[in-house]
C-alpha cells in the first residue's frame, strides 16, 4: 500500500506539474450550469398540479367520501387500524425482534372516527336540530346497535348512486347514519372539513396529518395517483406528475418494492410484502453503509483496478512513452 506521505510535495515528487486555473474552472462551471438551469426552467417549467381538497373529493365522488366516513366510524379504514405512531389499533411492522414502529409508541395520536366524523358533526350541529338529534341517537346507542347500523349502511353504500351531489341508498334500517353522513357530505362539499381538520382547535397551523390521513383512507386520491403512475407498485416514490424526471435517485429504493421477496405474502427469512417498508429501509441502510465503506471491502474496492475504465480516464498517463532520441 502506498501511503500519502507527509506532504503533498512529497506525494507529487517526480510528477510533472502543469498550470491549472481552478477558480476560472469554477466560474465557467457556474456559467454553464446557469445557462442549463435557466434554459430548462424557461422551456420545461416544473410540475405543479393543484392539490386535492376534501371539498373536491366530496364534490367529485360523494359515494367514496361517504363510504370512507362510514368506514371511519366502523374502524375499518387504514388510519383507524394503523397502529403507531397514530394509535394502538394495529400491530405495526416488525422483523423478528426488530419492531421500531412499536418501540416509539403513539407519538402522533389520531382517533379517526372522532377526528374525521364525530367532532366535525358536533361543531356543525349547533342550530341544526335534525343533526343534533341524530348525533345524540348515535352516541347514546349501544356498540352492538351501532355495529348493526354500520353493517347495513356499508352494504347499502356498495350499490349507492350519486344524484345532485347527494348519495342515494336503498331503504333500510340505518339509524341516524343517513342524516349524519348527508350533513358531513354537505360540510365536506362546502369546504368546511378542509378547515376543521387542519385548524384542529388552533389558529396558526402547518400540520396536515389529519386531512391527509382522511383523504388517504378514501379511494379518490389514490385513484388519481394511480392514473399519474405514482403508486408504490408503479415505482411511485420516484415518479411525479407529467413527464418530469421525479426523484430518479430513489430508483434503487423503489426497485425493491417491485421484486421478491417484498412482493410476496410468504417472503424469505421473514421479509415479505407485509413488512416491506421496514425490510427495505434496513436493506437500503446496509447498502448505504457498504457504499461508504467500499475502500475497506476487498473485492468491491478492487473492481476499479480490474476494469479498464481508469485507463480511459487517465489515458495520457498510461499512453506508451515515446522513445527518447539520443543525439
Amino acid at each position: 500500500m502506498k501511503s500519502m506521505g507527509a506532504t503533498q510535495e512529497e506525494y507529487y515528487r517526480g510528477v510533472r506539474m502543469v498550470p491549472y486555473d481552478l477558480v476560472k474552472e469554477l466560474a465557467i462551471a457556474l456559467g454553464v450550469v446557469a445557462v442549463l438551469g435557466l434554459g430548462l426552467a424557461a422551456f420545461l417549467s416544473s410540475p405543479d398540479v393543484a392539490p386535492v381538497t376534501i371539498a373536491t373529493w366530496a364534490q367529485s365522488d360523494p359515494v367514496d367520501f361517504v363510504t370512507t366516513a362510514t368506514n371511519e366510524l366502523a374502524g375499518t379504514t387504514t388510519s383507524a387500524g394503523y397502529g403507531n405512531p397514530y394509535n394502538t389499533s394495529g400491530e405495526g411492522q416488525s422483523w423478528g425482534p426488530i419492531a421500531p414502529q412499536r418501540w416509539f409508541g403513539t407519538r402522533i395520536p389520531v382517533d379517526s372516527a372522532n377526528a374525521f366524523v364525530i367532532e366535525p358533526l358536533q361543531r356543525a350541529s349547533v342550530g341544526n336540530t335534525q343533526l343534533s338529534t341524530g348525533l345524540g341517537t348515535w352516541q347514546s346507542a349501544a356498540a352492538d346497535q351501532q355495529g348493526k347500523w354500520l353493517d347495513a349502511y356499508s352494504k347499502a353504500l356498495a350499490n349507492a348512486t350519486a344524484s345532485d351531489g347527494k348519495v342515494m341508498v336503498a331503504d333500510g334500517d340505518y339509524g341516524p347514519l343517513p342524516v349524519m353522513m348527508s350533513n358531513l357530505l354537505g360540510i365536506g362539499q362546502a369546504g368546511g372539513l378542509d378547515g376543521l381538520l387542519v385548524i384542529n382547535g388552533r389558529f396558526y397551523q402547518t400540520d396536515y396529518t389529519q386531512p391527509l390521513l382522511f383523504m388517504g383512507d378514501g379511494g379518490y386520491l389514490s385513484g388519481l395517483a394511480d392514473q399519474a403512475h405514482l403508486t408504490g407498485s408503479q415505482w411511485g416514490m420516484m415518479n411525479e406528475t407529467g413527464s418530469y424526471p421525479g426523484q430518479t435517485w430513489l430508483w434503487l429504493y423503489t426497485m425493491w418494492y417491485q421484486v421478491w421477496p417484498f412482493t410476496s405474502e410468504d417472503g424469505f427469512l421473514g421479509l415479505k410484502a407485509g413488512n416491506a417498508d421496514l425490510g427495505i429501509i434496513i436493506l437500503m441502510t446496509a447498502l448505504t453503509v457498504a457504499l461508504g465503506l467500499v475502500p475497506f471491502i476487498p473485492g468491491l474496492r478492487d473492481i476499479p483496478r480490474w476494469l479498464p475504465i481508469h485507463r480511459l480516464i487517465w489515458r495520457r498517463y498510461y499512453a506508451p512513452r515515446k522513445a527518447v532520441r539520443h543525439s
Binding site: 500519502m4 506539474m17 426552467a41 414502529q101 402547518t206 386520491l221 421496514l278 489515458r315
Partner: protein, 219 residues
C-alpha cells in the same frame, strides 16, 4: 525543539512553544492547508480528464440550488404557485436540483472507477457518500414541501415507509411545517458544511495518483 524568535517577534522556522489556542489553530491550518494547497495554480499533468469536471459542476449546481432556494424561501410558499416569476424560480430550483444529482452521481461513479479513496483518502470518499445521503433527504423534504398534488401523494405513500421503520414518530412527512423547516434550514446547512469539508479534504491531500497496475486500491 528549541524556541527561537527574532527581535521583532516574527516567527522563525523553529517557532516557540505557546499555550495560545489561536496560535495553535493558525499553525495547524498553515501546516495542513496552506493557501497554495487550497488554491493551487498547478496540478499533476494527468488531471486533464473530463471526469475531474464532474466535481466542480456539482458544486456549481449546488450554488444555483442554494441561490434559487434562498429566493423561494424569502418570498414564501404561496409565491411559486400564484406568480409566474415565482413559478420560474421554482422551476430554476427544480432543474438545478436535477442537475446537481446528475453531476453528483457522475462524480461518484468517476471517483469509484478511479478508486479515489487510495493513499489516505477514505474519509473523503466516506463524507462524499454522506453528502449523497443527506442530499437525498433534502430533496425528499423539498418534494414534500411543494404544496401540490405530488407533495400530497408522496407524503401519503412515504408515511408507511417512515412509520414502518419507526422514523415517522419523529419525522412526520404529513407535517408540512416540519418538512419545510428541515428543507430550507437544517438540511441545506448540513449539505453545505459537508461539501465544504469534502472540498477542504480534497485540497489538503490533492488529487490521487493514477492506479498503479502493480499496486493495490486500498485506502
Amino acid at each position: 525543539m528549541s524556541a527561537t524568535a527574532n527581535v521583532e517577534g516574527v516567527a522563525t522556522p523553529s517557532e516557540p512553544k505557546s499555550n495560545s489556542w489561536t496560535l495553535g489553530l493558525r499553525r495547524a491550518i498553515d501546516r495542513h492547508l496552506p493557501m497554495d494547497h487550497l488554491l493551487p495554480d498547478r496540478q499533476p499533468y494527468y488531471v486533464g480528464s473530463w471526469v475531474y469536471v464532474f466535481g466542480v459542476v456539482t458544486i456549481a449546481a449546488l450554488v444555483w440550488v442554494v441561490v434559487s432556494g434562498v429566493v423561494l424561501a424569502f418570498m414564501g410558499p404561496q409565491w411559486w404557485h400564484d406568480s409566474s416569476v415565482g413559478r420560474f424560480f421554482n422551476s430554476l430550483h427544480f432543474w438545478s436540483v436535477q442537475l446537481f444529482f446528475i453531476f453528483m452521481v457522475l462524480h461518484l461513479w468517476g471517483q469509484y472507477f478511479m478508486a479515489g479513496w487510495r493513499h489516505g483518502r477514505a474519509a473523503t470518499w466516506l463524507i462524499g457518500v454522506v453528502i449523497f445521503g443527506v442530499s437525498v433527504l433534502t430533496a425528499f423534504t423539498g418534494y414534500l414541501s411543494q404544496q401540490n398534488f405530488d407533495a400530497q401523494f408522496i407524503a401519503i405513500n412515504a408515511k408507511d415507509a417512515m412509520n414502518g421503520a419507526g422514523i415517522g414518530a419523529f419525522f412526520n412527512v404529513l407535517n408540512f411545517g416540519q418538512m419545510y423547516g428541515l428543507h430550507i434550514m437544517l438540511l441545506p446547512i448540513g449539505v453545505t458544511i459537508l461539501v465544504v469539508a469534502h472540498i477542504v479534504m480534497v485540497r489538503t491531500r490533492g488529487v490521487v495518483k493514477p492506479i498503479d497496475p502493480e499496486g493495490g486500491v486500498r485506502s
